[in-house]
């Protein structure tokens, strides 16, 4: 920053004419984007104008207005005459007639996205016990009363399958079932609420398990089964898929009415 206070009237003002810091063409060759370099080659007058403006900002307001008026006049002249390469100095964006118009555009380069329609997911079926001795889609279902335990076990099974390069199609949770245990007193007819039990189920769906490796995998999972978790391995069927979807009674009513 300038240490001394510069009076605006002392600054020689540049009233137009040729660009003091070089030719237009020279600038363009050096700067293909035609953007000003970060450190623009200002003439002394312009630099001091800027600097003067900054210094005076921190002090009195009257002089500030003076300086700004002057700087505005100066920059307007610059706009008209020496805009090439002075974008930063003048602080105006690329206009349509400028060569730099649309310089930041990139959306036209991205691949076109098809708008997503809400469709029902079609399920895929795989041969099971084909000539290559592979199972199709298998569901490993883990059920327990304890949420953390069953979730951690499901994570363990998923990572184990990843590690053994077994393809995991999906890993999802079935909705929680809540059971209320009612306690009937010995000499009474009223049922009393004893406990509320929530049953959680997690499913890991795998595909492409070879029949020679299946018993080994089963043994590993069985021996690392925690207490209180029920394990079930079965083939994936359409009924399993449908059980995840919610039924819409109004839609079914309307369909029944129509048909």
């Amino acid at each position: 920053m300038y240490s001394s206070m510069i009076d605006a009237r002392d600054i020689p003002q540049w009233r137009g004419g040729l660009i003091p810091h070089g030719d237009k063409d020279e600038n363009r060759r050096r700067d293909p984007c035609n953007l000003l370099l970060l450190y623009p080659k200002l003439s002394l007058g312009q630099r001091s104008l800027l600097g003067g403006g900054k210094v005076l900002c921190s002090e009195k307001g009257v002089l500030l207005r003076h300086v700004f008026a002057l700087s505005r006049a100066a920059t307007a002249r610059e706009n008209r005459l020496c805009a090439a390469g002075d974008a930063l100095l003048a602080c105006h964006r690329s206009y349509r007639s400028r060569p730099t118009h649309g310089i930041g555009r990139f959306q036209h380069l991205l691949p076109k996205e098809v708008p997503k329609r809400k469709k029902e997911k079609v399920q895929m079926k795989e041969i099971s016990e084909g000539t290559e001795y592979q199972y199709g889609d298998l569901n490993i279902q883990m059920t327990s009363y304890d949420l953390c335990l069953v979730e951690h076990f499901a994570q363990y099974v998923h990572r184990l399958c990843n590690r053994l390069s077994i393809r995991v199609n999906e890993s999802y949770a079935m909705p929680t079932k809540t059971n209320e245990v009612l306690f009937l007193e010995e000499r009474g007819s009223k049922m009393q609420l004893d406990a509320v039990l929530t049953t959680h189920q997690r499913v890991v769906q795998i595909r492409g398990l070879s029949s020679t490796f299946a018993p080994i995998l089963l043994e590993i999972i069985q021996s690392s089964q925690p207490e209180g978790v029920h394990l079930l391995m079965k083939q994936h069927t359409e009924a399993d898929f449908k059980s995840r979807l919610k039924s819409r009674p109004e839609l079914e009513e309307l369909l029944a009415e129509m048909s």
Binding site: E132, Y133, L164, S210, S211, T212, F213, A214, P215, I216, L217, L218, E219, I220, Q222, S223, S224, P226, E227
Partner: protein
Amino acid sequence: MAALMAAAPARAGSGARGTPGAGGDMAGHCGARAMAAPLARRAAGSARGVCSAAAQRPWRLFGAMCLLRLPRITQPLEKEEEEVAALMEQIELEKSHYSDHEIRKLEEEEALRRKKESSYDEDEARGKTVIMAQDLEEKWEQKFLSFKAAPRITDADKNNDRTSLSRKLDSNLMLLVKQKIGNQELWLLPQVEWQPGETLRNTAERAMATFLGDHIQAKVLGNAPYGIYKYKFPRAIRTENNVGAKVFFFKAYLQSSDLSRAELKADYLWVTKKELGDYLKSEYLKKVNRFLLDL
């Protein structure tokens, strides 16, 4: 007729008596048998079978069954595991919020305290429930105390009775039978010779049935064998057509622990993996240990 065939040649087992030449020839002479393509996997218990040809090669085939009783209870935690578990529990407890029951209990204690200090129990007693949270807790405590858990260490453990099934409840137990091979009586997994016209899995099941009776509820896992043990007969018995024997191991899980049916062979044992070394020969043991999973 379908025995099992594999692409991977057998390692030179049986005390380096199997010649590499024989192994190479084995792979070449893969006969017309049904395939169950085993792939070598790095998990414990990799299934390797040996391609054994028909009557051209003088190896006798046996099918052996490794019958496992699954653990009934979980293994105890290690010292570090216990410490970590305790720490995590404490952290969780300190971070957690009060549950409904605890809030109710606190409120009731508050109300009781206020009732004792100053008496406006008329208003509050009306909306009060008959049972307080504290009473519920006491009821639960009593119920818990009256519950007796089954012992983890059973009598059989204390007596070290190796023929009983209720011994080590937290590990796998497998069946060992004393069999006569050649002139010797050896402790082995039950095995029986393969008859032409049956799968090796059937052979193994037959082996199980011969030693334990027909009504065994065991579930064989898969058609592929888990391991193989190959040995050559001693030179005295060895002939052109009878070089040695190959034993294919299969695994099965015991479904029910009810073995009240008569055991045909008297000498049987249920042992864990660590105790196998007391009974089996070293080469045999090495092969068997390869497919035993002891988590």
